[in-house]
C-alpha cells in the first residue's frame, strides 16, 4: 500500500461537500466501495430515534452565493464548500452589508483562512469567508441566495466485516461527514480504506475485523445502536482514525481507563518504532471514541493521530487542504496501524515445555563455543522464554523485556519451532 495511492484516494475525495446526510456523502461511500467492494453501504431513515438523538434529514445544496450591486458573486459556494455553513437553511433576500455581516463568519486571527462551521441541530444560515475577503466588502446592498433544501431520506454509512478464526473483534472507525478538509478527516478515511483493503488481502486472520466509515457522532451512535450487543461482547480493541496525514509527530489518546489492550499495544508499537510521540489524556478526546467509550457501551477504543484535532492552527479551516497533508505521512500512519494489527494477530500466549532453561545447544539455538561475548547473545531468547508461563502474552512479555514486539514474536517463533515452548489457547479476559 503506497503513500501515493493513499494520497490519491484522499485527493479524489477532497472536492466533495460531505455532511451528515446528503448526496456527496453517498458519492464518498460509493468511491470507498469501488476500492473495497466487500464493504456494505447501510442506511437508516431520517427521523429514526437513536438513543438520545434523531437521525437528521438529508441536506441538499443547489447553489449559494452573495452578489454585489454589480452582479458579481463576491461569495460563492461553487468556489469552496466551506463558504456555506453546513446544514444552512434556505434564504433569499437583498441586504445591506450591516445586516449581511450578522451571518458572515471569519477568523480575525487567521485572516487567510475560511472557517468550517456547521449548524446541524439548530436552524441557521450563514456564509464563512476569510477575514481578508471580509475586509474588501463594501456597504452593499447584496443579493443573498441560499438555495438549499432538507429532505426525509437516509443517513448512510459503510461497514466492512472481515471474519477471522476468532469471534473476538477489532474495530476501526473513521468519519466521513467533513467537507473539503484534508487532514480532518480525509486522511482518516484514506488510511482506514488502506487498512480495509489490506485486511481483505490477508489469509487466516486470527481476529475478526469491523472497519466502519460513518458520519461523526450521529453515525457512530447509529452504529452502536444497531450493533450494541455484538460490540460489547466481541470488540477487544479498537481505534478511531483521524488526522493522520500532516507532518506532525504522532499523538496518542488513550481509552477511558488507559490500560486496555488497545492502549497497551498502541504505546508498545509507537515505542518500538522509536518515534517521538505524545500521550494525551482521555480528557482530550474529541471524535467517536466519545460515543464508543460512553457508559452503557464502554468499548476499549483509543486513537492514534498525528497532530491532534484542535491542536494545529489549520484545524477546521480552509488551511486544512491538500497541501497540508502528504503521502509520506499517510504511509507512516498506515504503517503504525498495520503493525498494531499484525501485533494483535501474532500476540499469542506460550507455555514452557520444560522446567528450568531449555538446552538451546541441542535445539540449535546456541553458539557452539561459549565466550565472553556469546554469553550475552542468547540472553534475549532466554528472557522471552522465562516469561512463558502460560499466563503472559507476547505483548506483556515485550513490555517486560522492553524488546520490540515484532522481535519478541520472532524469538517466540524460534523457541516454538525448537519445541521449547508451546502456544496455548487463552481466552480474552
Amino acid at each position: 500500500m503506497s503513500g501515493d495511492e493513499i494520497y490519491g484516494w484522499l485527493s479524489m475525495l477532497f472536492p466533495l461537500n460531505r455532511t451528515l446526510a446528503g448526496p456527496d456523502t453517498r458519492k464518498t461511500l460509493d468511491f470507498l466501495k469501488s476500492v473495497v467492494p466487500k464493504m456494505v453501504i447501510k442506511s437508516i431513515d431520517s427521523g429514526t430515534k437513536v438513543f438520545d438523538w434523531e437521525v437528521p434529514k438529508e441536506w441538499h445544496v443547489r447553489e449559494a452565493y452573495v452578489e454585489n450591486s454589480l452582479g458579481e458573486r463576491v461569495i460563492d459556494y461553487e468556489n469552496n464548500n466551506l463558504h456555506l455553513i453546513s446544514y444552512s437553511t434556505p434564504f433569499s433576500k437583498t441586504l445591506e452589508y450591516e445586516e449581511l455581516s450578522q451571518n458572515l463568519y471569519s477568523l480575525p486571527d487567521q485572516p487567510d483562512f475560511i472557517p468550517y462551521i456547521t449548524s446541524y441541530y439548530s436552524e441557521n444560515w450563514g456564509f464563512c469567508i476569510s477575514e481578508k475577503q471580509k475586509g474588501q466588502l463594501g456597504p452593499g446592498p447584496y443579493k443573498v441566495l441560499i438555495d438549499t433544501f432538507f429532505q426525509e431520506g437516509e443517513l448512510i454509512y459503510g461497514e466492512l466485516l472481515v471474519p477471522g478464526r476468532n469471534v473476538d473483534e477489532i474495530l476501526i472507525s473513521t468519519y466521513i461527514c467533513h467537507p473539503s478538509m484534508a487532514n480532518d478527516n480525509l486522511s482518516g478515511v484514506a488510511v482506514s480504506l488502506a487498512l480495509a483493503k489490506w485486511l481483505t488481502l490477508q489469509q487466516n486472520l486470527e481476529f475478526s475485523y469491523r472497519v466502519v466509515f460513518l458520519p461523526e457522532t450521529i453515525g457512530s451512535l447509529v452504529y452502536i445502536h444497531e450493533n450494541l450487543e455484538d460490540l460489547i461482547r466481541n470488540v477487544k480493541a479498537g481505534w478511531v482514525i483521524t488526522c493522520v496525514g500532516d507532518i506532525g509527530q504522532f499523538s496518542f489518546i488513550p481509552s477511558i481507563t488507559g490500560n486496555t489492550l488497545s492502549d497497551r499495544i498502541s504505546r508498545k508499537i509507537l515505542n518500538d518504532q522509536a518515534l517521538n510521540w505524545k500521550e494525551y489524556s482521555f480528557l482530550d478526546r474529541g471524535s467517536d471514541e466519545r460515543q464508543y467509550c460512553a457508559p452503557g457501551c464502554d468499548l476499549p477504543v483509543a486513537s492514534i493521530t498525528r497532530s491532534k484535532y484542535g491542536e494545529f492552527p489549520e484545524y477546521h479551516t480552509s488551511g486544512d487542504n491538500l497541501e497540508f497533508v502528504n503521502s509520506k505521512s499517510l504511509q507512516e500512519s498506515f504503517g503504525i496501524y498495520r503493525d498494531i494489527l499484525i501485533g494483535l494477530e501474532r500476540n499469542g500466549t506460550f507455555q514452557a515445555n520444560t522446567i528450568g532453561e531449555p538446552n538451546l545447544g541441542k535445539r540449535g539455538l546456541y553458539p557452539t563455543l561459549s565466550t565472553k561475548a556469546s554469553a550475552s547473545t542468547v540472553q534475549d531468547l532466554l528472557n522471552v522464554y522465562i516469561f512463558c508461563n502460560g499466563e503472559r502474552d507476547i505483548l506483556e512479555i515485550s513490555e517486560l523485556t522492553k524488546l520490540p514486539m515484532h522481535y519478541v514474536i520472532e524469538l517466540a517463533n524460534k523457541l516454538e519451532a525448537a519445541d521449547a515452548i508451546s502456544k496455548i489457547k487463552k481466552p480474552f479476559p
Copy 2:
C-alpha cells in the same frame, strides 16, 4: 461565620488554665455550649479504667509562686498559667536557688518564651520560666509555694451529634486540654466550634455528624471506649482539627493507609483552592489520630493543619499566644473544612440515562452554533458525563477530570436537571 467571630471565641477562652480534668476545662465546655446549645457535656469518673489507661483525678490550683527574700513574687502562676507545670504536686518550702533550679524549666534557645510542660502521669512539681527571667534570679533563699490538690472527680468532654438522612457519620475531633495557647489548640477548638454551629444550621444533611471536644489522648480514648462499635460501624471520614490559626501554609497529615475518603477529599479540596500545601507522612502524626487510627479502632481519620504542631518555633511555648493567630487564617481554615463537608454532602454517584453522549442541544446545554471555539466549551460537561457509569462518585470524577469538585458538582447538577444522568443509591464500600 466570620473570622473575627472565631477569633473572638478563641480570645475569650485564652486565659483559662485548661488541663486533662479540672475547673477551667469545665468553664471551657460551658462556653462552647453557650455557642452551640445542642452540644452535650458528658463525664466519666476519675479512676475508671479505659483500655490501657485510667481516667486521672481532677487537678485544682489555688495559687503557686516563688517569692524572694524581699517578699517579691518573682514567679507567679497568677501572671501566666504556663509558669506552673500542669498536674504539679503541692509543695511548700524555702530553698536556695541551687535547689530551686532543679525544678525550673526554661528554653536556652528561645530565651523570651516560657515552655509549656505537663507531668500527668508521674508525680512532680516545677515552674516554667523564660531563660531571660531565669538569668535574673539571685542565690536565694526563695519561698516556694504550690497550693494544688488532686480530687476524685470526673473527666468531661463535649459531644455534638447532628443527625442526617444517612447513618454514615463524619467525625470532627479537637482537644481542650491545653492552657493558654492559641494555635495549639484554641484555634482547633474555635474552628471546630464554628463547624459545629454551621452544621446545626444546615437542613437536610446527608451524613450524620459527631463533633467532639475532649482532652487529648485520654479524652479520645474515653470517647472511643464509650462508642467503639458505633464509631467502627458508622464513621466514614474524620478529621482531628488543631493548629489552624497561624499564618503558615496548610499541612496535611493522612490517615494510616493514606487513601481513605478523608484523605482523598482533603487533597482534592486543598488542590481545588490552589493553595500551597504540604503533605506529611502518617508517621508525623501527633494528635488524637494516634488513638483513632490505632489497631482495634482504625478509623479513617486525617488532619489538616496550618503550621503543623512541632514544626513552628512557638509550639508549646508562651509564644503561641493571641498575636500568633489571626482571624483571617482562622476563617480560611474554617472554609477548607466547611468545603470538605459540603463536598461530602454533595458527593453523589450518577448513572448515565442514555448510551453514547447525550444530545446536549435538545437539553439546552449546547451553544446553538458549532464553531471552532464552541467545540471545546462543552468538553467539561461531557467529561463529567462520560465517567457517570454508576460506579464512580463525584469525588472520583473530579479526581479523574482534574476539575474542582464544586464545579463537577455544578456540572452534574446541570446534567441531572437536564435528565441526562440520574443519582443512584450507592452504599459506602
Copy 3:
C-alpha cells in the same frame, strides 16, 4: 566469621581446575565438607536425563601444552588452568602457527589477560592465552598435546540442610564449576561456606535452610529435578551468591516479579546499611536464578553481588585472581547475607494488645516528664506499635516506618516485653 578466614578458604581453593564434573570439583567439595562436616556430598550419574538436559561425563586432564621447535613449552596447562578450554577434547599433532592459531583464544582489548572459555556441549579443543603472549609466537612448527579424557562417572554437589522449627525454607545456592577465578565464583563459594558454618552454629532457628554448592546450570537443574516438589512447597526466599569479593559497590538482581520476600528484605537490608547499591533488572540475571525462577519451578530467588558478573573487565579472565578480591569485601558481603537471615528469623507478626495507644508510662517505656524534646522520643515506638494490627510483619513495618529492620525488631521486642503487643502465628502467604 572473619574476612581473613573467608579469604583463606578462597585462596586454598583457587588453584583447583573446577569444571562441571571432574576430580578438582570433588576436591573442592571435600574441602567444603572439612569446614562444614554436616554438608552431604551427593551425586548423579553421567548420562542421566535431567529435564531438557543430560548430565555430562567427567572431564580429566593429564597434561596439555604447546611446545616450540626448541622443545620449550610456550603454553602449558601446568602454569594456568585457564590455558586449556574447559572440556577440551584430546589432541596431539604438530602444527604450523597458522593452523594452531585457529584454536588459540585471546583478548585483543585486554592484552594481559587470559580468557576463560568453556566448550561443555560441543566437541572442541583449544588454548587460551594473553594477547601479549600470542604476539610472541613465531611461525612454528608447534607440537600440540592435549591429553584429556572423558569418563562416565558422576556429577557431584554439596547440600547442607539445617532444620528449623518451621518447614518453610530459605535457599542459598552457589556454583563450584569455575576453575581458578576468584570473584566469579570462589567468592560466592567462600561466603556461602561462611553462611553454612554460621547457620550450623545457630540455636533454635525459625526457618529451615538449604545451602547448596553445585555446578552452574546443569547442577542447579539436577538439584531442582531431585527436589522439585519440596522446593516449590517450602522455599519462601532464596539467593544465588556470586561475585561478592571485589571492591565494587553492591548490586541487586531481583526475582522475576521483583516483589517477593527475597526482594523486599534484600532491598531493606541494603538500605538499612546506608550502602551505595544499584538495582539491576531481572533481565540482567545470569546465574542459577535462571533455573530457579524458570516456569514450572518459579522460586522467589534473587541475588546480591558486588560488581555484577559481566560488568567488571576482569570477568572471565585471568584478571579475576587472588588480588582482585579481598578479605574486607568478603566480610562485608557475608555480613549483608547474615543480616538478611537474621532479619528473616526475627520477622514476626504482632497484634496490639489494647485499643488506642498503650500507656507507655506505666509500662516503663515513657520518659517521666513530658517536654518539647521528649514529645518526639517515643514516636518510633508508637509508630511501630500502630502498625501492629496482626497483618503486617516486621519487614513491612520497617518499610512503612522507614526505620532499619533491626531497630524495628528491637522496638517490637520492647513492646512485647512490656505486654503491649503479642506475637501471632501467621502462615506464609
